[in-house]
Subunit: 561 residues, 2 copies
């Protein structure tokens, strides 16, 4: 009977030395079961190379877990107690969805402000260090990043490590980007080069070190498990290989507190995988992740269906930023706009937004109660990208490889984050607005209109003359960005509107302080105090303003949000 | 046999004195027929008050027209020849549609750059003068303006004249705006107050003087015949009264060269009129306007069906500015975005765009080959509206009443107009772009995709996974604004994109000069000369840029555009 010490919300690791596995080095026979916190959990161990076996567990409660670790092939049957000490200050556990919001395991609200460095772990150590240093000063608390290396524009380099060893008998290949198209246009030819039974242990240790460094910075790793921007042959492995890869990855990483699973970058451009493949991956991950980390899938065109219970949140690439509230209502899950174009100046249309426009996107999404993800694509040889990496490497664009940030948006995203974190709770979209009429079929529309006061019905009848498609297109470009936290806070983002006066309707039974926010200049000034009901707020008549009304006396529960 | 002298493209007027009509003063028996220019045209005369009868004709050719003017009740039968002298320089005749473009009768291209002063003719003389003075210095060549007075926010005043006399036996009413809602929410009660048989001649003479002043400024009058923003009882007249009003209006105004008929401002909010009413008006105007002036109808929500031959162009209130090319293709007619919000700072969301945003709207619409209409709504008591009217009148907002312009957009619209008028011909949208896939139903989509090169088909197949609605919403916010004049000019507007480099694909068989335009700073600089095929243009990496490639040697026909 062993007695081990761990810590709440931190990965506990069990190690064992023995002979290397005779067969697969990925799917080995090493199982643990943990009883504690009112639950029983099954976890799998992994082979880490050099005759070392490991098994990881993440205790989410302080106190004792009784455990048993078993391997028939290794002849192991260890029983013990893991005593988890209470979490250190600042450790909150994994982030999970609750309704349309996100919370850490300890109940602390998590407002996601993501960024994107797709091929971070596949860069030089110097560049990874610089990127982590940049992240330490940036406002981002989530990072979208890939396991596999990436072949694409601004992504021409080979990684230091690959996740698997080459199959016995295969000649070592050179992977030059020369002359290859950056964009996958057709199915790849499945081949037999990588040996998924033999993980490259150096790769995984290196990846884990990066993920742990992110954790130390308070950054969630939204880990992208598959993508199609590939010249090495990882995008066209067999389903069996893909599942073996996932199994090994889950054995190693599931006990990390800051991990999220993003099945793909642009799953619908993964031409060598079917929806059935991805549903199989989804089911496999859900069944083999004992902690239920956040799990979603990122699209190029068609959003991944978020209705299944196994999908924790919407991870939507979209420029349709008026749809956040609609999707929150539809799925009752958090909505993350994980790609909405990037601040930058590359020729590609998706990578040359101004700082203003990306900040606008963040506000539009966030005020509805959704979450938005940043990316930056300034060319290092241009004035806008002049803070090129200090490593001396060429063609380092943040969204691809990391380095330093040049944009005007991060500072403003930090301001937005401070505003959002000052609220008493997560934002929800305002209910009952005209844009909701867009999504109704004819009969439901008629019924809804009939519930409005009579004086409104002729007007609404004119809206109803538009068919569903016309209504959707109408409200896609005519939208008010508003959210609220119950009746304790109301936030309106005025976007491109420049009124000299803004009218707001607050509840009559509480008193509010109304602040005017300049989202670009990052100022916040109190305009009114002790007001209720219909209020008029003077504004400077310029774009990118927001108005925030907060109840002057918050209850205790509200303050803890 | 009379011999009369007129002038090509100018209204010729025949006068006759006699006793006032015994019955209707609107629908009188006075008819003319004119033979000339290979056509026979029937026109109707009108009673102008004070025992004066008039009949107007617009000769569109230089040379002789033989005519006959007949009235049985007045005992008139006059035959004669109208000799139309050739048009003065700068006189081009009525504007008409040809395909998706607009041309004056003499073949000169007309690129519409409209503005909006809804209640111009119903203001004080001093304010009308000031407005015309402003228009004389502004870039606008079309004005949307109403016949009837307007009751709405920023439109509280009574006009000097009403179009009809009060019915005999009716007590004179006072029309105060006090306490009335500005927005029509339900059907009005039809009453019997205005006598459409008895036009108020002073009203019509005054309106005509304003229209003629616009003509002298080279401005087309897009005359709005009905609207619902009313407290006087003009919006809820009977169909018979409405048709009599139209008949009288056509008798007086059809021979004006600069007139366009806009059946309504927001026809679908005219709760006292049905679509059948408007179709009856449309048919009546088409049948009774001998000159076939431009005729359309302006919506709030549901676009008026522009498929009938009697509708000359699309007059669309919309913020869906990506739809211009689609509508041009669908109807084969000019597409005018006659309301896309206004530059201003009023609280109403439709009237507080920044100058940048309105200029953006103009470019987005215009580059596709459409036409856009301006409006300005700055509050005179705010810094942004400080050039209030010099008349001393209160609450004068340009879009409602005129006065002086404060905005930043007119200067930039002038720049756009100079660019467009420098082109060798009207712009057409680029064909075959991905956004066109948005509008196809499943089968047509599959067939279209099958015609693309094989390497593209997987990618396009991913687009096709989205249903029609999803595709429409996708391309509504992901759009490239491009137009061309055959292969002699190619214009791209980069909107919010800020690339450091722009790639353009020009034909291989001509040489082009490529200019870089800053649409906000109003600069135009030549970047490349003598280029063809795929070209890369360096850009400053800021928003609101455009790139224009013009063939270096234009043929004679192209130069005349």
């Amino acid at each position: 009977m062993e007695y081990r010490i761990g810590k709440q919300y931190e990965t506990w690791e069990w190690k064992h030395s023995g002979p290397a596995p005779a067969g697969s080095q990925a799917e080995i026979d090493l199982r643990g079961s943990f009883q504690g916190d009112g639950k029983s959990m099954a976890v799998k161990g992994f082979y880490a190379g050099n005759g070392e076996y490991r098994l990881r567990f993440l205790p989410e409660a302080a106190g004792d877990y009784s455990y048993e670790i078993v391997s028939d092939s290794l002849g192991i049957r260890e029983s013990g107690v893991l005593h988890a000490e209470p979490a250190d200050a600042g450790r909150h556990g994994p982030v999970r969805a609750k309704g349309t919001a996100l919370f850490y395991a300890d109940g602390t609200r998590f407002a996601s402000f993501g960024t994107t460095v797709y091929a971070l772990a596949n860069q030089s150590e110097a560049l990874i260090e610089e990127t982590l240093e940049t992240l330490g000063e940036a406002p981002f608390n989530k990072l979208r990043t890939c396991v596999f290396p990436k072949h694409y524009a601004y992504n021409a380099n080979n990684p230091r490590f690959y996740p698997f060893e080459v199959k016995a008998g295969q000649a070592q290949r050179a992977f030059s980007a020369e002359g290859l198209p950056v964009f996958p246009t057709r199915k790849g030819i499945a081949d037999d080069y990588w040996d998924t039974e033999r993980p490259c242990f150096a790769f995984w240790e290196h990846l884990e070190a990066v993920l742990q460094r992110l954790d130390a910075l308070g950054i969630q790793a939204d880990l992208i498990l598959f993508h199609n921007y590939d010249r090495w042959g990882f995008s066209n492995m067999s389903r069996e290989d893909n599942l073996r890869y996932l199994d090994y990855l889950l054995r190693r990483l599931a006990a990390f507190p800051n991990i999220w699973w993003s099945m793909a970058n642009e799953y619908d451009l993964c031409f060598d995988k079917s929806d059935e493949d991805f549903r199989a991956f989804e089911a496999f991950i859900a069944a083999n992740d004992p902690y239920g980390h956040l799990l979603s899938n990122h699209n190029c065109f068609q959003m991944w269906d978020a209705s299944r219970e196994t999908v924790s949140h919407v991870s939507f690439q979209t420029k349709e930023l008026t749809r956040v509230a609609e999707l929150m209502r539809k799925f009752g899950k958090p909505v993350l706009v994980d790609e909405c174009r990037y601040e930058g100046n590359i020729p590609e249309f998706w990578g040359n937004l101004s700082g203003q426009d990306l900040v606008r996107s963040f506000w539009r999404v966030t005020v509805q109660g959704g979450f938005c993800t940043h990316g930056e694509t300034y060319l290092p040889e241009t004035p806008q990208g002049k803070l090129a990496t200090r490593t001396g490497e060429k063609d380092v664009v943040w969204w691809a490889k990391g380095g330093r940030l040049n944009g005007q948006s991060p500072e403003r995203i930090a301001f937005l984050r401070s505003v959002i974190e000052s609220l008493p709770g997560p934002l929800e979209p305002v209910e009952g607005g005209f844009p909701e009429l867009a999504h109704l079929e004819e009969e439901a529309l008629r019924e809804t209109i009939a519930r409005f006061p009579e004086g409104f019905q002729s007007f609404l009848g004119s809206i109803a003359r538009m068919n569903r498609l016309e209504r959707e297109l109408f409200y896609a470009v005519e939208y008010n960005y508003e959210g609220h936290c119950g009746d304790s806070a109301f936030l309106s983002y005025l976007d491109d509107q420049c009124p000299a006066v803004y009218e707001m309707k607050l509840p009559e039974d509480r008193l509010y302080r109304v602040d005017v926010l300049d989202t670009w200049e990052m100022t916040r000034q109190t305009a009114l105090q002790g007001v209720k009901g219909k209020v008029r707020v003077k504004l400077p008549g310029k774009p990118y303003m927001a108005v925030l009304a907060v109840a002057e006396e918050l209850g205790e529960e509200e303050e803890n949000g």
